[in-house]
């Protein structure tokens, strides 16, 4: 396995709760559900609540190909990205329950860029999928998927950058021939 860049480690850095609207969030998608680079994955690729993502302020898109929890490097998997400002912010259910969706920085020791898109019900964090009405659950995933763009396509060879990003904005990667 290729080694995750040293800059992925937290190294005592604090949690950074503020997200710039122009920041990107990245998520890897298994080849088993996104194999064709000419297509886009379906809602089956989008998780809720607490969807794990990497943030562009602290990591590059190809960094999320490293699964530091299980010590795996999925070098062929595609990466989807979404702008923070494009995350569908809220849905109403029966005009009473307001579900909001926000990104939260949740650094791990070996993965500082790690973040989550969390769901809240009238301001209370929802931790279990079954605490969210299933129609709202699917509606939000479909709405989010529509805003997500392929950043790295499946099987695209992208050399891992060792240096951290210079800003919160998405930085172009190079594709190996």
């Amino acid at each position: 396995m290729s080694k995750p860049p040293a800059a992925m480690k937290t190294n005592g850095r604090p949690r950074e709760p503020r997200f710039d609207p122009a920041e990107h969030l990245f998520r890897r998608v298994p080849l088993s559900i996104w194999d064709d680079p000419t297509e886009r994955p379906g809602p089956e690729a989008v998780e809720l609540p607490d969807m794990s993502v990497g943030r562009s302020k602290f990591g590059h898109a190809e960094w999320v190909r490293f699964d530091v929890v299980n010590g795996q490097h999925y070098e062929d998997w595609g990466i989807l990205g979404v702008l923070v400002s494009d995350i569908p912010p809220r849905f109403w259910d029966l005009g009473v329950f307001q579900y909001t969706f926000v990104p939260c920085h949740d650094p791990e020791e070996r993965d500082y860029p790690h973040s989550e898109v969390r769901a809240y019900n009238n301001g209370v964090h929802i931790r279990l999928a079954d605490a969210l009405p299933e129609d709202i659950h699917l509606k939000w995933r479909v709405a989010l998927l529509r805003e997500m763009d392929p950043i790295i396509k499946p099987r695209q060879k992208v050399p891992t950058r060792e240096q951290p990003p210079r800003s919160h904005l998405l930085e172009a990667h190079t594709v190996a021939s």
Binding site: R28, V29, P30, S32, I33, G42, P43, E44, A45, V46, E47, L48, S52, D67, N70, Q72, Y74, W77, A129, D130, E134, D135, H137, L138, K139, R141, V142, A143, R146
Partner: protein
């Protein structure tokens, strides 16, 4: 080498037998447009038969059978793919995805059998990271996604590039499947019908 009279008679007999067999076959499948069939003779049947167009027809027929066979293979492919979801392990997406439960796969198989009977093939079938099985149907910018979840419920999402997605619950029986598939077909083909309507020249 000259052809003897006996050879000529044999050759004609062979052609007549072949033509008769082809005509019976055409009649059996209700294809009265073949030049071999007597009722089609007025369409220049004999001439078409003699210049070999009937061979092209036979080839077309064979090709159609091959496509039908391939479609049969497509359905087998979907059923096999669905059955293979049972071998997925927890965390198969490298995050925390639950594999589809056996009951969810059975429910999805029931829906797939319904689709096969109806002749409506999905664009994709995949396991879902939220625990379940997802069927996708797409036509241009419009898509319908039907998800069978491990909770035992199924929902359909109707989506395009512009409007807010609409999600409805799917009743898991023949009536429910008929309703959602009819609605999906209408939704997916509505745009094509509208486009055709717009392109039609005014009288």
């Amino acid at each position: 080498m000259e052809c003897s009279g006996q050879d000529f008679v044999e050759a004609v007999r062979e052609i007549v037998v072949s033509f008769k067999l082809a005509a019976f076959k055409a009649q059996a499948v209700g294809d009265l447009t073949r030049p071999l069939f007597l009722k089609a003779a007025s369409y220049g049947g004999l001439r078409d038969a003699l210049n070999g167009r009937w061979v092209a027809q036979e080839l077309r027929s064979l090709r159609a059978e091959a496509i039908s066979f391939r479609n049969k293979g497509d359905w087998e492919k979907w059923f096999t793919k669905l059955a293979n979801f049972s071998s997925l392990k927890p965390g198969w997406d490298s995050y925390r995805a639950e594999p589809p439960l056996a009951a969810t796969i059975r429910a999805a198989e029931g829906f797939l059998m319904f689709l096969r009977k109806k002749g409506t093939s999905p664009t994709k079938i995949n396991p879902s990271v939220v625990g379940g099985v997802g069927f996708s149907f797409r036509n241009g910018p419009r898509a319908v996604y039907i998800e069978f979840r491990n909770t035992g419920n199924a929902h359909a999402a109707f989506t395009d590039d512009a409007s807010e997605p609409e999600v409805v619950k799917v009743r898991q029986d023949t009536t429910g499947y008929s309703e959602v598939v009819a609605r999906a077909e209408e939704y997916l083909h509505e745009q094509t019908a509208r486009r055709d309507e717009n392109q039609r020249p005014s009288a």
